[in-house]
Symmetry: C2
Subunit: 448 residues, 2 copies
Amino acid sequence: MNSKKSNRGDEVKNRLSADLTQTDIATPVRSMHRRQFLKTGAVVAGTALMAGGLGPIAARAASTKNNLPPNTPEWMLKQGHPIVTPPYGVPSKYESDVIRRPTDLTPTDISSWSFTPLQDLHGIVTPNGLVYERHHAGVPAIDPAEHRLMIHGMVDNPKIFTVEDLKRFPAVSHFYFLECSGNTLTEWVKPKGKTVQSTHGLLSCCEWTGVPLSTVLQEVGLKHGASWLLAEGADAAALDRSVPISKALDDAILVYAQNGEALRPEQGYPLRLLLPGFEGNMSVKWLRRIEVGDKPFMSHEETAKYTDLMPDGKARILTFVMEAKSVITSPSGGHRLHDKGFHEIRGLAWSGSGRISRVDVSVDGGRNWRRAELQGPVLPKCLTRFRIPWEWRGKEAILQSRTMDDTGYVQPTLKQLVAVRGTHSVYHYNAIQSWHVAADGEVTNVHA
Amino acid sequence: MNSKKSNRGDEVKNRLSADLTQTDIATPVRSMHRRQFLKTGAVVAGTALMAGGLGPIAARAASTKNNLPPNTPEWMLKQGHPIVTPPYGVPSKYESDVIRRPTDLTPTDISSWSFTPLQDLHGIVTPNGLVYERHHAGVPAIDPAEHRLMIHGMVDNPKIFTVEDLKRFPAVSHFYFLECSGNTLTEWVKPKGKTVQSTHGLLSCCEWTGVPLSTVLQEVGLKHGASWLLAEGADAAALDRSVPISKALDDAILVYAQNGEALRPEQGYPLRLLLPGFEGNMSVKWLRRIEVGDKPFMSHEETAKYTDLMPDGKARILTFVMEAKSVITSPSGGHRLHDKGFHEIRGLAWSGSGRISRVDVSVDGGRNWRRAELQGPVLPKCLTRFRIPWEWRGKEAILQSRTMDDTGYVQPTLKQLVAVRGTHSVYHYNAIQSWHVAADGEVTNVHA
């Protein structure tokens, strides 16, 4: 142990005082195979560097407008904005088009929804300002100090918790997607959405932090035979849904933070339920009450709404899991390819049943498929970004993605989906999406 | 293959039409060991549920103020705010204290810095509005359509790229921390920062998306012997730093997006360099120029600034890596424990050399240590959230965290750090942080 300690001490000391100029910090390049993706980067001739190019700002310390190279951009000629303007930062004014957009299908903007601009996003995180919305009676303005969560019913010890009480429990943080069961509802019969924002934008992904619901249920003690609970929100709709106790004890979370900071008002501030992989409306926002029982509560939202009308006239009910689905976000509806040659096809895949195991991409409407690369870490019940190179030759193409999850479930074609479900359903549409690329580069939504 | 296909077809069909009411979806609880963390959740008597408690909203559909239970909160009595108000969402007004705060050490707010409120954050993601700032000449307002990146010097094919050019290259997304080399600079001699925001808040973590710098360097072709590059920003300071080519070809990224959306202006919009694990100022923002050479460029920022003055009067230079470091964020300076009993100690650990392998926590100033739980996924050069339970008995305590990374590096004590570096350094302070908990629950910054 002593020698080990002493070695560790030396290691610390060495690292603390390392003189990096003496180390092999920069190994010169011996040879490098040159590879060209683009023809578009402008080639710079030697002289252009000093004249019309973006020359080095040579005499920077003493520089004036007169001794700066030509083409020095105007924003280098003056000091920029000070820090903390504003203290809570906002996007560049040049990004003012990257916003949530409302549906045009609802007569009110209170019981309505707005879409995440997936065509403008990268990676897997949805920034909090762009997380999609679905409200049944608008967004309540809740004072967190006044908010309470009551847990009662088939429990040993019914309790009322403040938000501060809940924050004291052992916490967890996980990245999970959230998808409205009605996402892509316009696409059952005809291709209607113009952009991926309108076809698939009831979908977002955040890092959620809170206390596992199982911890709090252990605190109150479940009675023998408890098998369902009812979760109720503190909005004017008092939206409520039944949740199987197996889910509650598995990965359900009482969430108070998203992407590091407090939940946003439209995401349930100060407290929401989160049921990873289940349809979004069950992750009840502004959570105020959990009642434990021994059967589904058959609320309005799971009988009159959020059911799937099948071809035989019966309705599937309590269809919780959002099954595997994927969509290409770039290029996608509303985009236009300006150049032939290299393009990277990018998209998102997700499954409420587990991890994405594979995404295949077709550029010929499903005749041939190539396997896309998945960006790690690939997390369960989380968006997964996929990418695959594509050489566009300036001809018509139909782009599709098809995903599989680690349960073996394969995303269906539209034909497969409709063969089973018919076209009277609203919810749980997860068919393969097709984007048509015209010879002039215009990208549009098609059924193929 | 045929039978496999047919099985898969059946599986898809079954899953598409599953009637979940017929499945074993909710297994009743048989018995559950009750466990109590808190004494604080208010116990509810049976009658209170219907009277003074948070009773069910019984006749919701036809409800008026008169038939609602008492104590129904005011926000359930009226419709809430409509969707997309605003289209780009903002935090609750009750969170107005969760903001970046400026330093009081600089005479100007142009060449200055602001801190991330780590004491209010959860998980590992820093929301874009709260990412710390460090500018040398303020934030330039750059039109992305006018912005260019030139790569020249020891390359076969000098080129000028637009931002759109760079977005067409194959992309990557990674979660990485970013830390100013001056983070915790106030703590060398005396404990000065009142909160973890002021001691450690020059630290943030985002999901960054862009094109690997290696890809673009392959595009221009590096000449034999190339071993360093200079990266220069398009701010009025034209901040520039030398980067070893080994780093450029390893994990450096030309970044255009953070946490899903475009870079924020104060993070380098529309384009920045990102050097994972290196001191923040080297991840040059508003990146306009990369010059390739065969030795360090010895810019102002790496000779006059960003060097570490050692006890012998010599200065370490080119000290790039932010070594392993950790801090407890809750409870931390400025907090007050109101109750004895269970508390979860929470904090962050990170290392510019790789993955966090371990965090130990002491509540007695370093005499005894217990191993904390790390929240997965534990990613390289990324913040890692750690948590450990603590039973506070209402007595004085000194809380410390000590991390180790997967290279075996152990975060030093202040004594170890000062023994090697002395106290004339400004940058690269990574000693163990101590928080003193008084008998009355007040938490303050101490050296221990």
